[in-house]
């Protein structure tokens, strides 16, 4: 059974703070992803990684960075949190190969004041 865990379910931060969101998967998946979910906008891809130390920008990377030092762990960093980064953040992972079934963590609801 695939398990993707995220370090926090709820987080409250102040504008300008540096924020770390961590994601761990236990299925030896090559690919890992960070999305944000906002009402009416669906899930939007922030960054993804297809291997250790590799990263690629998604559709909305501005204001974010990522780190993947180990295969099972993918971190999302908000360098200087802003109120428009208040959102639900979802991590996902998938096997390498050609089929795109991704498995999601429970999400982190971030509120930036």
């Amino acid at each position: 059974d695939v398990k993707v865990t995220q370090s926090s379910r709820y987080l409250v931060k102040r504008t300008g703070e540096k924020v770390f969101l961590e994601c761990v998967q236990d299925m030896d998946h090559e690919n890992m992803f960070w999305y944000r979910q906002d009402p009416g906008l669906g899930l939007r891809l922030i960054y993804f990684s297809y291997d250790v130390k590799m990263k690629e920008k998604g559709d909305i990377p501005e204001g974010y960075s990522v780190s993947r030092e180990k295969k099972e762990r993918f971190s999302l960093i908000l360098e200087s949190a802003s109120t428009n980064q208040t959102s639900m953040y979802l991590c996902a992972s998938s096997f390498g190969g050609t089929l795109g079934t991704q498995y999601f963590g429970p999400g982190t609801r971030l509120l930036v004041l």
Binding site: L41, L43, Y50, A92, L99, T101, Y103
Partner: protein
């Protein structure tokens, strides 16, 4: 540029009847399609998928239909049950574009009324 669109933000269906959720896409390179279900305060869970070489895939009460010429897919749930109340996202990928990136629609909130 919304490549995957779910034009109905919400849908309400009577318990026991059929629920039909629709999704349209614009990118003709998409060749793999998925539906995810999401409850509040949980991550999306994979429901069912279909490859572009097929036009129908069935799994229990869930059937996905793909019409490539119309760039349209739909999810049928029959019979609908109260536990099916959730937000449903369709997603698409193009396997030759690497890393199996998924493009998601905006979601449709399905409510099953007893």
């Amino acid at each position: 540029d919304q490549q995957v669109k779910q034009n109905s933000p919400s849908l309400s269906v009577q318990e026991g009847r059929i629920s039909i959720l629709n999704c349209d896409y614009t990118n003709s390179m998409f060749d793999y399609f998925l539906w995810y279900k999401k409850y509040p305060a949980e991550g999306p869970t994979f429901l069912i998928s279909i490859s572009s070489i097929k036009d129908k895939n069935e799994d229990g009460r869930f059937t996905v239909f793909l019409n490539k010429s119309a760039k349209h897919l739909s999810l049928h749930i029959v019979p609908s049950q109260p536990g099916d109340s959730a937000v449903y996202f369709c997603a698409a990928s193009a396997t030759d574009q690497g890393a199996q990136k998924l493009v998601f629609g905006q979601g449709t909130r399905l409510t099953i009324n007893p």
